[in-house]
Each structure stands twice: as C-alpha cells, then as structure tokens.
C-alpha cells in the first residue's frame, strides 16, 4: 500500500482534474465544490446577465447595476458532486503475471482504480468501494481507506462483483479479468441498472492470457488451485482457446452495451496511462 499510493498519485499527476459527469437527477444531487461550467445553484460567481422579466428582485446585483442603467443579475456556477464506487477484483486469478517479476493483474487493476480515485477526489467527487458498507466519501482520508482495502487480497479463485454499496444514480467502475463465471457479473449489472447506476467495465488481462504461448504436455491449474486441466498438446488448444476468449470479450461488451455501461480491455503489458485516460473519458461521459 505504501508503494501503491505514491505510484497512483504520480500517475494521476499529469491529468487535469477529472470532472465526472453527473446525471441530472433531482433527488440524488449533492452539491460539490466543482462547477459545471454553466449557471445554476452554487456558491461561486459565474457571470452577470441583464435582468429579465420574471427574475426575483432579490436576485438583482445592485452594486453592478448601479454602474449602468440596466439591472444585472449575478449568476452562480452550477456545482454538483458525484459518487463513484469501484469494484476491484482481488481474487487469486488476478494475482497472475506471466513475465518473471512482472506486474500482476491485481496490482494493475488496483493502480488504475486508485489513480482514478485520486483524480476524482481532486475534482471533489466522492469515491467508495462497492463491498465496503460505508457510503462513498471525499477527501484524503477516504483515499487512504480505499488504498488499504485494495491491498487486502481475497481468498476465492475467481471474484464476483459486490453490489452491497451501490448508491442510486451514482457511477460504478468494475475492474477484473472477468475470467470467472459471468453470472455474478450479469446479476451485478442488472442490479446496477435497477438503481440507475451506470459505469465502466475494465477487463485487465495478462499478455500470456491473450497469446497462449504454451506447448507440449502441460497440466494447467488455476492460481488458487481449485481447477486443474491436463493437455498433451497445449499448442493444439491455442486456436480454440482464443476463440473462447474472443467470445467472452464480445459477451462482456454486449452486456455493457445493453445496460448502458462502457467496456474496455487493458493488458498488463501496456502502459497504465492508456487505461486511466480511457476511464477518465468514460466517466466524463465523452465515450
């Protein structure tokens, strides 16, 4: 964790503050510190505009109006805060790295999640983890809590998304390799859709999982050891394995599309910045 946080902050540093695009829902709006670059409810001055018929008299800025013959109304910048919750898969399958001393998928997923969190906190958004019972919160302390939770590995072989804390109309980010059973993912996405939550699925894969560079007689086992599979010619399996992997990716993309989520594939062999940029843009709503 001590290493993770500085690295995450270092990665987040070059990006401008992330503005999460909040869905304009009346009930769910919580005022945040950062304006929406449009007039609305808020504390910060936005602009003067000539008073129009219908403006209440107390809205008129008399100090400005006194300098001219017109009446001016002071508009405030519209400020809104957004809650973003993360689910980072920390199951055993994520602790896999094909390259010697390479970065594991879990490490990469946690890094991306936390650097996104740093950006969000800088932007005044609230962040949280889906499995933690506490509601999303803002501030450096929350970052510390999230980082501590991300450093804690899970025991099971393949993870399933938690939906314990999924506030209505918030945004959610699921980071996993999505190699386990897909039913929990479908269920979680259905729950999210029910609560009006949209977000992003980031599939983190190792290059070896994409290339399948194995040959000869091989006994494959899952990282946790719960599954075993023996083959005499691993090389023969490559094409069929890749077919299944492509099928799985298509399935995830289709699921995301149906529920209004975004889907992205990231490899641990690539630079994490690309995934962070994508996530930044996805949360901004530009994709």
């Amino acid at each position: 964790m001590t290493a993770l946080r500085p690295r995450a902050e270092a990665l987040a540093e070059p990006l401008p503050p992330l503005l999460a695009r909040a869905r304009h829902l009346a009930a769910g709006v919580v005022l945040g510190e950062h304006g929406r670059r449009r007039p609305g409810l808020g504390d910060a001055f936005w602009q003067f505009r000539p008073a129009r018929p219908g403006d209440p008299a107390r809205a008129i800025d008399w100090r400005r109006s006194a300098r001219s013959d017109q009446h001016f109304v002071q508009e405030k910048e519209w400020q809104a805060a957004q809650a973003v919750v993360f689910w980072v898969d920390r199951a055993a399958s994520m602790r896999f790295a094909s390259a010697k001393n390479g970065e594991t998928k879990a490490g990469r997923a946690a890094l991306i999640a936390l650097s996104t969190s740093v950006l969000l906190v800088q932007g005044g958004e609230r962040i949280g983890l889906t499995e933690s019972p506490a509601p999303p919160a803002r501030g450096a302390l929350q970052l510390e809590r999230v980082a501590a939770a991300l450093a804690d590995p899970a025991m099971q072989d393949y993870g399933a998304p938690e939906t314990a804390t999924l506030p209505r109309h918030s945004r959610a980010v699921f980071l996993s390799d999505f190699l386990g059973p897909l039913e929990p993912v479908e269920a979680a996405l259905a729950t999210a859709a029910d609560r009006g939550v949209t977000g992003a699925l980031l599939q983190v894969l190792d290059p070896a999982e994409e290339a399948f560079p194995y040959d000869g007689r091989t006994l494959f086992h899952s990282v946790g050891g719960s599954l075993e599979y023996e083959t005499r010619q691993a090389g023969d399996l490559k094409a069929r394995y890749l077919d299944r992997l492509a099928e799985r990716k298509a399935r995830l993309a289709e699921l995301a599309h149906r529920t209004g989520w975004q889907y992205h594939l990231h490899h641990t062999g690539d630079a994490p910045t690309s995934a962070l940029l994508w996530l930044y843009r996805a949360l901004e709503g530009r994709i």
Partner: protein, 924 residues
C-alpha cells in the same frame, strides 16, 4: 577375455545387462514425459476442450531409440571394450626382457618401450617375476636379478638408446651362463650383429623366445666427403624394400652464429637398393659452415653424420717478401707451400691488408723480415683474435734486425744475429737431421724420414721460455719450430726456409703432415691410424642415441689411434678436438653397410605395430554422455521448454557449447572499404568510435561543424567526417583523428596499438579530448577520464609532452591564438615538447622549433561539443554565456582551423622565420 571379432571385453559379464534393454523399451514407452505444471487463470476457458492427437501421450520412437542407445553405450562402455586385444598367453616362470639399445632402435624407441611395458604388465598380472637386460651392457654372469614385473616396468622410463652399434658378444657370453626355464622377449633393433644368431639360439634353448622387431628399414648416413669440389652424401637402409624418398638436411651456424638448416636435399632409394648417393654443389662459404648432415624426421645417431675438418677448406693467405721479384719458380719461398696446400685449402695471395680483410684461417709469411707498421699492427690484432701466423725463415729474416735484442710481437722467440750454416762447404759439421718430437709437441707421433736434413737456420736467443716454446728441434737441440700464443691465436716460426734452399724438409711428406698438425692445412678424407698416432683428443660434443649433439662434459682424453676404430662405450660418437683440429667420430664409417638381422630357423620376429590394443572405454562412455545430452535437449523440445528457453536466451549457452565451430567475423578483408577509399581521395577528419552512441554522434557533429567552417574559411574542403573503428579500419588515410576519452572505453587490442603507433610515426595526429576541463583542476588527483587516458595512451609511442608554449606553431598556423577553448576553457593543452636546445634567434619572434607535426594534442576542452552543429547547421550545445560565449565558440573553431592547418602544412609557418634570411641571401 571375451572377444567379438576385433573387439574384446575386459568385463564381459556386464554385457548381460543388454538383455534388460527390451524391458527398458517397454517401460519408457509406457511412461510419457512428465507434464509441465503451469498456473493459468484462463483455465476456465479451457475446460471441456479435448486433445486432438492421442498419440502424443506416448514417448516418440526416436526419443526411445536415443535413450536405448545411450543406455546400451553405457553398458558397453563399462564392460571394458578393447580394440585388437592382444592374445594373452599366461606364461610361467621368470620373464627376461632383452632390449637392443643400439642406435638403430632409436627411431621407434617409444613403441619399443610400450611393447616392453605391455609384456611386463601381462607378466605382472600373472604374478611373474621379470628381469630387464640391455644388450649393450648385459649383467655379469650369475643369477638373474629377478624382481616383480611391475617394478621392472617402472625402470623402462629411464632407458635410452646408445649411440653406437651393438655387437651382442657380451650378451651371448652372459646368456651362456643362464639356467634354463626363463621365457625371453627380445626387442630387436633389426641390424645384423656378429653374435646375434648365437645369442638367439642360446636364448631359445633356455625357454620360449619371442622376438619383437619393427619391420621398417633402419636408415643411416655415411660420412660426407668432398669429391672434386662437390659434397657427397650417402644414405643407407637396412632392407632393400620398395622405392623410398628421404630428405637430408645440412645444419650449421648461420653468419650470426645461430644453428639452422643450411641445405636440404631429397634422396630417393630405388626399389631393391640399399644405398643412395648424392652430390651436393655448395659454395665454399656454406660448406665450411655445415656442422652435420641428418636425415630429416629420423631421430637416430646413425642418421646423423658430423662434419669435421675434412669437409672444410681453410683459407690460407700466402705472403712473400717482394712479390714482383723475378726468379725461378722453384726458388720461390712459396712454391712448396702452394703445392702442399692447394689440394686441401683455398690459397690466397696478395697485399696483406686485403688478405686480412678476407678473414683467412692462417697467414703464412715466407721469409718476410719487416712489415710496414700498419700491416704489423693489423696482423697482430688478427692473431690476437684467434688467427694462426706461420712464419718461415730465410735469407732476409736472417739478415734483418727483426727480433734482435728485443721481443718482436710477431716472432715467438728472439733471434740471434745472423744465421747458422751447417754441413756447407765452409763448415765442419754435417747437415743436421731432426730430433724425435717430444710428447708435448703437436708433431708427436709423426715419423721422421731419414733424408730430411737442415743445412741453414736462424738461431733463437737462449732464454728461460725458449724450451717451452720449442715444438720441434734439430738433433743437436737447436730449435727448428717455435711457437708462442698471442691472445687467442698463435705465432709459429719455422727456423728454416720454406723452399729447398736451406733444408730438404719442404721436399718431404713430413712437411705436409706438419702443416696439417698445425691446422694450417686439412686432410682429405678420414685420418688414418698413423696420422693420429701419439695425439690425445678431447671430446668436444657427443651424440646421444637419438642423434642429438650435446655437451661432452669431463671425459678422459682419447688416444688418436682409437679414433679410427668403430665407436663404442669407450669412444662415443661425437666431435673430438686436439688443439685447433677437429675430428668427427661417426656412428657409421665410410665403409659401413646396414645389414638386416638374420635369425636362426624357427625364430621369426613379430611386431604388433600400429594396430595395438586400444582401450575404447573412454570413447564409448563419451558417446553415451553425448546421447544423454541430446536426450535432455530432445525432452526439453518435446515439452515446449526449449523454444521458450531459446527465446529467453537461456539456451544460448547450450547452443554455444554445441556449435563452438561457429564462424567468427566474416568481413571480407580484401574488399577495399569504400569509406577508406573516399577518405584517401580527399581530406577527411576522423573520430574514434567509442561505442557510446551519444558521444559518437557529438563527435561526428563536431567534426562536421569544423569541416564546414574550414570549407568556408580556407581552400581545404574536407569530406564529411568518418568514425573509425581502431580494430578494423585503415587509419593512414586520415590526417587527424579526434579521440574523445570516456571512463568506460575499452582498451584497444595489441594489433590496434601497433597500427596506431605506425599511424603516429607516419605523421598522423591524434587529438585526445578528456572533455573534463570544466571539472578538472578541482579536487585532488586526476579525473576518471584523465586516468583512463593515461591507461589508453600508455602503449602508444608518444614523445615527451609540454603545455603549448606561446611560440608554438599551433598558435599561428592560420589564426593567431593564445588559448585553445572548446566548449570549456581548460587550463592547458599539451603537445610534443620542444627540443631542450631550441633557442630564439636574434631578432626573431619565435624559437626555431622542432620539425614535423606534434603526434598528439591532449586537452580536455570538449572541442567536439564546441564545434558541433545539428543537421540545420545550428550549434548543438550552448557555449559560455551570451556574446562572450559566441566569442568562445569562434575561438574554438579557430583552434580547429589551426589544428587542421598544422596537420596539413606541418611547420610551414615555423619556417617563415627564415624568410628574411632567405631574402637577404637572394639579394646578394
């Protein structure tokens, strides 16, 4: 031992394990190679997939075969395979190994020792006792000194062949005293000896006799002779076999005294011939230097024949008092000398100074009384350096004052005034005859003919050393021949004349023999017994059995009579010396023949020869190991790990081990390098490629910037700069090489240094740049680059250096400069030091400095960075600050300009100081 054709096995029971191979086949076939365990999260996608190929479960047949072969090879290897096993007859009783250790055994001595060792090992295995007998020195008659065969075998290593031929007579006498019951193995040298058959019969009577004799013919050389000016060498062989060619080399000191091959000749034996003779035409200079002839590649004393005086022709200078004197030929003092010397020596006549320059072996002065002082001095020096001066008396010497009352250095004794005439018409006495020679005289043993008489002589002044210097005297005791040493040489005076006027000595054969004894002339052919009678000879160098000439050490003198006999234990072959004379005692005499040994009926020599026992255990086990290593590779390949390992580079070591014969650098060397060709056509600046890409690009950019400036400012139009690899590229085409020094630079190879030195000597210049002038001078000690520069430049041929003096030509070859900045302004730039005696001439602004170009310029100002421009011609690095920096950059270009001008024009500017003087001279 179990044998299968030419194969035998020392542990045949192990071969039963071969029966287990089919079981192994079944086992290996049933057990497939172990799977690799891999963690793989994507396993969920694999579940439910089936293997297409069911056969891969089994081990492939070729891998099975490989493993079976490896196991079979191991079983065979441990069973002790032996090729061509010797039939081992378990003899009983003591074993006598009789070794002929004459010279003829030397060429295949090692094979003989191995054969003897094999017999002794077999005897050791059977627990028998053995005795080792050398045919040259059989033991005293008596009980055999039997010992355990293993102990006896240990003594074989100390045996060496003797350098003479065997007679076997002593061995026959010894064998006659033996008790029957011993088995004998006789390693024969293959040459006939007087007692060989008798010895064979005796030994066969004692017990089983095995004769081992290599079938190759023995080769030998007869002494070389001179026949009509040609050197005749004769080679012999013992068996009249098919045609055979041998090479004969003549070895001797070359003019610098080092022994080397002087002449080589090929002699071809015709089929059925045992003798081949060849005449070699050699210049006398070469012939006199030949020390021995050998048969090339044949190590035996008989294949060496030593050359002695008989092969040499001495150069004798004959000098007469007045060459132009007209007179009767028979009265000439030199006539008899010429007659005596001409057949065996090279006689020279002429002025003394010319003759001494021709370095004669001896100078003969016949009745010469006085010599011009320079001549006398030259002659004395020549004698002291080892020459032999032989003087004859005569009327002139008798009349002259030479040696009267004082010692003449060129006379052995003082002479009395006048001579003496005996037996003449006016005298009472009869002509004197010679007294017998004393034992200490070199003439001792020569027979004195009765008709040799002396009628006149010069007389020696009596003195304390006269008796010691007299080597021949007349019957009345007056000295006839006196001698004294002078330096390394000697002076001999014959007190009578060289012609027949004063004595009959020159008419007799004794005269010739005396000249020979004095080593003035040499004999032709081998000396006969009579000639050598009474002389004592010291061994100078001796041959060993292998024909190597070695130091003789301290040995008693050998009487001359013995030298004519065959060599033996008391006369080992070699060179024998008595005073200045040298006689070679050769193994084979001029009449020698090589006759093959003949054996009694029933005894046939055998020889195992080359097809000896060979232990195959090592090769077979090695093959098993190689097979196992191949199996490892194959197993890795099957499980897919080899490819991964190769990718990771881990198997590179294996590949290296397997393919150590991979070709090296295959750059075609004879193809001219285009860069070199281009550089040879035009001025091209070069930099040393250090291997650091960044630094090399800066060097290139720097020289490019400098080249551009030079092109703009002068008529020099350099080509684009070139990076040179010191190990490969030709340097001589580059006038200036810029060498940036980095801390981590590799040291060039010795060959590269040799070429760098050649480059510097041929007028090239290297600009060393440590690029540390910004930090040098701070702190203590040298910077890392400076230390590296010191290590790099140590093998270079660099003269003494000094900081650039203010009047150095480098300060004014193009621009006038007083500092040499680059990117930094360093304290000092070093060039070749001016000679210490350089002085400023009157009225001249500069000293008259050394010629030539300084071979190195050393500094740390990072000039390349100062000069460097990028592709668009803009400076790459900032220099200094603001306008002052631009000024510094300009100065750095000016320095580069001056440097290139200095390299190209040398000390042309330095020579300008002479212009006023030249103009003044022209005006006159």
């Amino acid at each position: 031992m179990f044998t299968l054709g030419p194969l035998g096995f020392t542990a045949p029971w192990l071969l039963l394990a071969l029966a287990a191979l089919p079981v192994l086949w079944w086992l290996l076939r049933a057990v497939p190679p172990a799977p690799v365990r891999r963690a793989f999260p994507g396993i969920t996608l694999l579940l439910g997939l089936d293997d297409k190929d069911q056969e891969a479960e089994r081990t492939p047949w070729w891998l099975l075969l490989l493993r079976l072969l490896a196991v079979a090879a191991m079983i065979l290897g441990f069973a002790g395979p032996v090729l061509n096993p010797e039939p081992r007859s378990p003899g009983t009783g003591p074993l006598v190994v009789l070794i002929d250790d004459g010279w003829a055994a030397a060429p295949d001595w090692r094979a003989r020792m191995e054969a003897a060792a094999r017999s002794l090992r077999a005897a050791e295995a059977a627990g028998r006792t053995a005795a080792l007998i050398r045919a040259s020195e059989p033991p005293q008659p008596g009980p055999l000194g039997l010992r355990a065969a293993g102990d006896v075998a240990a003594g074989l290593a100390g045996l060496e062949p003797r350098p003479w031929a065997l007679s076997h007579e002593a061995a026959r006498d010894w064998a006659a005293t033996l008790e029957p019951g011993a088995e004998t193995v006789w390693l024969s040298d293959g040459l006939a000896t007087p007692a060989r058959e008798a010895l064979a019969r005796t030994l066969a009577g004692l017990g089983p006799l095995t004769v081992l004799e290599p079938p190759l013919p023995r080769l030998g050389l007869r002494p070389a002779r001179i026949e009509g000016g040609l050197v005749e060498v004769t080679a012999l062989r013992s068996i009249a076999g098919p045609a055979q060619e041998i090479t004969i080399t003549g070895i001797g000191p070359d003019p610098s005294g080092v022994e080397r091959e002087l002449v080589r000749a090929t002699l071809g034996f015709e089929a059925g011939a045992t003798e081949i003779r060849q005449e070699l035409s050699l210049p006398p200079e070469l012939r006199n230097r030949i020390a021995r002839f050998t048969i090339a590649g044949h190590r035996a004393a008989g294949a060496v024949t030593l050359a002695d005086d008989s092969l040499r022709r001495r150069k004798i200078a004959l000098i007469e008092a007045s060459a132009g004197r007209e007179g009767l030929e028979l009265l000439s003092p030199l006539h008899y000398l010429r007659e005596a010397l001409a057949p065996t020596a090279e006689v020279m006549e002429g002025p003394l100074t010319d003759l001494i320059a021709a370095s004669p072996d001896a100078v003969v002065l016949a009745d010469v009384a006085t010599l011009a002082p320079p001549d006398a001095q030259a002659l004395e020096t020549w004698v002291a350096e080892g020459g032999l001066l032989l003087r004859f008396a005569g009327p002139r010497l008798a009349a002259a004052d030479t040696g009267r009352g004082e010692d003449d250095p060129l006379l052995p004794v003082r002479l009395r005034v006048g001579g003496r005439t005996v037996g003449g018409a006016m005298s009472w006495g009869a002509p004197q005859s010679l007294a017998p020679f004393s034992e200490s005289s070199p003439f001792y043993g020569l027979a004195i003919p009765a008709d040799v008489t002396v009628t006149s002589q010069v007389l020696a002044e009596p003195g304390p050393d006269l008796a010691g210097r007299t080597i021949a005297a007349l019957a009345d005791g007056t000295p006839l021949v006196t001698r004294k040493p002078l330096g390394d040489g000697q002076i001999v005076l014959v007190h009578t004349s060289a012609n027949a006027e004063w004595s009959t000595l020159p008419l007799s054969g004794l005269f010739v023999q005396m000249l020979e004894r004095l080593a003035v002339s040499t004999r032709a052919g081998t000396p006969d017994r009579g000639e050598l009678a009474g002389t004592v000879w010291q061994a100078d160098a001796l041959l060993d059995g292998f024909g190597q000439l070695g130091e003789a050490g301290d040995r008693p003198g050998t009487p001359g009579e013995r030298l004519t006999g065959a060599p033996g234990p008391d006369l080992p072959p070699g060179l024998y010396r008595a005073e200045a004379r040298l006689v070679a005692v050769n193994v084979l005499g001029p009449e020698a023949e090589l006759t093959p040994a003949s054996w009694p009926i029933g005894i046939a020599p055998t020889w195992q020869g080359e097809a000896g026992e060979q232990d195959l255990t090592g090769p077979v086990l090695l093959a098993a190991l190689i097979l196992i290593a191949l199996d490892v590779l194959a197993a890795l390949a099957l499980s897919g790990r080899l490819a991964r390992g190769l990718k990771a580079g881990g198997a590179a070591a294996i590949a290296l081990g397997l393919f150590t014969l991979a070709p090296g650098d295959l750059r075609a060397q004879d193809e001219p390098d285009t860069a070199t060709l281009a550089a040879a056509l035009n001025v091209t600046l070069a930099y040393v490629a250090t291997g650091d890409a960044g630094l090399d690009s800066v060097s290139r950019a720097g020289l490019q910037g400098l080249s551009t400036q030079i092109r703009l400012r002068s008529s020099v139009e350099p080509s684009p700069p070139v990076g040179v690899d010191l190990e490969r590229d030709e340097l001589s085409v580059y006038p200036l090489i810029y060498w940036p020094v980095t801390e981590t630079q590799a040291t060039p190879s010795d060959a590269a240094y040799a070429r760098l030195n050649a480059y510097l000597r041929a007028g090239g210049m290297i600009l060393f740049d440590t690029r540390d002038a910004d930090v040098a001078g701070f702190g203590s000690g040298a910077t890392a680059e400076a230390a590296r520069l010191r290590a790099l430049a140590r093998p270079l041929d660099i003269p003494a250096l000094e900081p650039v003096p203010e009047d150095h030509v480098l300060t004014r070859t193009f621009y006038l400069l007083n500092e040499f900045p680059g990117r930094h302004t360093g304290p000092e730039v070093w060039v070749e030091a001016a000679p210490p005696d350089a002085e400023r001439a009157e009225g001249m602004p500069f000293r008259n400095l050394n010629d030539g170009v300084t071979p190195v310029v050393i500094g740390g100002n990072d000039w390349a960075a100062g000069w460097a421009v990028n592709d668009s011609g803009l400076p790459m690095f900032p220099v200094g600050r603001g306008l002052a920096g631009e000024r510094q950059r300009e100065l750095s270009y000016r320095f580069g300009m001056n440097l290139v001008m200095h390299v190209l024009t040398g000390n042309y500017k330095s020579d300008q100081v002479h212009v006023p003087a030249l103009l003044e001279r022209l005006g006159q």
